[in-house]
């Protein structure tokens, strides 16, 4: 196992249940990225009742709340103890390559050889910054969500936040509230209300079966695996943070940054359509929820059906921005995994791991867990690790051909 986050530990749990000898190698502490690569105010997008892993349920007194980062770290720390994972922390993998016995894993604390390796190294190792970022004038400070902690680290002045998924809208809101006026560049996004008909949207996605939808059931897997994270924030008030809320707070919405020439950002004229698309898709989801309520006779048990106001877009959004007007740019344009240490012919031309639902078919014995839509819509959520870990452990056990039945 490479990586002692929630997904790696869940696989470790199932391997232990089946008496498979294994070790969990971790470059830092348990839950390392949650400790070191997240901004201070971040809370999980999923409510506490959904923070469950095989053999560990949330047992606090606030099932509808959202964990802060220290709480997430505590939860995963507890999990490592509950499953008694054979941990090797502070051990960084330098390279992984095939050898006669399967795989050779070279670390800064010795070399391992194993017939099977599971990569649980997270999906958010590197900030996915577009190449046009190189053309940002030198006077403008460039920040990624991996470096970002609090608004105070930014220089005074206007801030351009590029990207309007969960990361972008959350950072935009708190930076704007700090007195640094924010312009938010909006590309394709997923709009969701925090609460609908009195229930958390995650409750609806869970109950209606959306989150259990499998990779082989969706009609467009490429799209499903590339959907940006929904516009949600976890707050004690269960607030909806959408583009209209940001507009109300004074954040200015502009189109996607399509190019940068001579210090000017060229903005796409597609803003209205992208907002319209997101409104329509949210409407379709709410319709699905309403149908489900009707079909399940729950009409009296939940709030009444309603719709949200369309996203407001100014009449003629600007088509260019003079970047010298901004003191900093935050690229909230997504993340990607780091495979720089993986020396096997399993990456595609864009550096992504080729796998079939977590099974790296071109490298027998190699597995991946913890990516968007790896096996199910919930794969990237904490509670999504359980089913994926069980499935992949089944495959791994059959592959190595040992281990006792549970």
């Amino acid at each position: 196992m490479i990586g002692a986050g929630h997904a790696g530990l869940a696989v470790s749990h199932f391997l232990s249940l089946r008496s498979i000898d294994h070790v969990v190698v971790e470059r830092g502490e348990v839950a390392n990225t949650w400790r070191t690569e997240r901004w201070d105010s971040l809370r999980l997008l999923t409510p506490n009742w959904q923070s469950r892993l095989p053999a560990l349920e949330y047992d606090g007194d606030d099932p509808d709340g959202y964990m802060t980062m220290p709480e997430v770290i505590g939860f995963i720390d507890t999990y490592a103890k509950v499953v008694d994972a054979p941990l090797r922390t502070h051990t960084t993998v330098k390279s992984l390559r095939p050898n006669d016995d399967g795989y050779e894993v070279v670390t800064d604390d010795g070399t391992w050889s194993s017939p099977s390796v599971v990569l649980a190294t997270g999906g958010f190792n590197l900030a996915n910054i577009p190449s046009i970022a190189e053309a940002v004038p030198g006077s403008v400070e460039t920040v990624t969500p991996l470096d970002y902690r609090t608004p105070d680290q930014l220089p005074e002045g206007d801030v351009l936040v590029v990207g309007a998924s969960a990361t972008g809208i959350q950072i935009a809101e708190e930076v704007h509230a700090s007195g640094r006026p924010v312009t938010l560049s909006v590309g394709e996004h997923v709009r969701l209300p925090r609460v609908y008909r009195g229930k958390d949207i995650m409750w609806w996605l869970d109950r209606t079966g959306v989150l259990d939808e499998r990779y082989d059931e969706v009609d467009d897997l490429v799209r499903a695996r590339n959907i940006p994270s929904p516009q949600l924030v976890g707050t004690p008030e269960r607030r909806t943070l959408d583009l209209n809320a940001l507009t109300d707070q004074g954040v200015r919405l502009v189109g996607r940054v399509a190019g940068i020439v001579d210090g000017k950002a060229q903005l796409s004229g597609s803003l209205r359509n992208l907002c319209n698309l997101a409104d329509l898709k949210m409407g379709r989801l709410l319709g699905t929820i309403d149908d489900w309520v009707l079909d399940n006779g729950m009409e009296g048990e939940v709030g009444t059906s309603h719709r949200f106001a369309p996203t407001r877009v100014e009449e003629s959004p600007p088509l260019s921005l003079d970047l010298s007007f901004f003191s900093s740019v935050i690229w909230a344009t997504g993340f990607r995994p780091d495979y720089s240490w993986l020396h096997a012919r399993v990456l595609d031309r864009k550096g992504r791991l080729r796998h079939d639902a977590g099974v790296v078919t071109e490298a027998p014995g190699l597995y991946r867990i913890g990516l968007n839509m790896l096996r199910r819509r919930k794969s990237s959520f904490i509670h999504g690790a359980e089913d994926d870990a069980r499935d992949l452990t089944d495959h791994l056990v059959a592959y190595v051909g040992v281990g006792a039945p549970v």
Binding site: A258, Q266, G269, S270, L280, R284, S316
Partner: protein, 186 residues
């Protein structure tokens, strides 16, 4: 979405497009296309353009026939009006592209189209092209497309068709995003 007894047929072979996508993801070099046109000056502001060949799927391709286009400026610009203005070709390109997309998306979503009509308007301040006001751009300052669609689907599903068609449209992208253009003289 609507379920009908007869299979939906908008005349778009969606399966072929989906198969092509699968094939091209595995062979990305074949996905590199070059579209071509040649234009000859006729006289005044009148020009004649032809479209015959393009490059794609790893080789030269030819249209079923050569398509011709005359472009000119209208009489209010003291021209002879031998064809649509170039900017009207841009509008035609956008409306045609979006309409093709509506048909393809409808086919993919199992929606039968009965009629699709688009009207498109592009607003322009011609002081830009005349050089009369340096602050006015040459191109459109706003483009509006209006669709009248009769289909076996709800209003919301029809709106989603049109939105998705914009998302997948090449010409919509060309117009809404910048493109590097290099013009050379031999």
């Amino acid at each position: 979405m609507t379920t009908t007894d007869t299979p939906v047929n908008n005349g778009v072979n969606v399966q072929a497009l989906l198969d092509a996508r699968t094939a091209l993801v595995d062979a990305p070099e074949a996905a590199q296309f070059t579209w071509k046109a040649s234009t000859e000056w006729v006289g005044g502001t009148h020009s004649h353009s032809e479209v015959t060949e393009f490059f794609g799927l790893g080789g030269d391709q030819t249209h079923r026939t050569t398509f011709s286009f005359d472009a000119d400026h209208p009489e209010v610009f003291a021209s002879e009006d031998n064809g649509a203005t170039p900017v009207e070709y841009v509008l035609v390109g956008l409306a045609s592209c979006l309409t093709a997309g509506v048909a393809a998306v409808a086919q993919n979503r199992g929606i039968q189209l009965n009629s699709v009509k688009a009207t498109i308007e592009g607003d322009m301040d011609v002081l830009g092209i005349l050089g009369g006001d340096p602050e006015v751009r040459n191109g459109f300052n706003d483009i509006k497309v209006k669709y009248d669609i009769d289909a076996d689907a709800s209003q919301e599903d029809i709106e989603a068709l049109v939105a998705q068609s914009q998302k997948r449209s090449a010409v919509f992208d060309v117009i809404t995003n910048p493109t590097n253009v290099t013009v050379e003289v031999n």
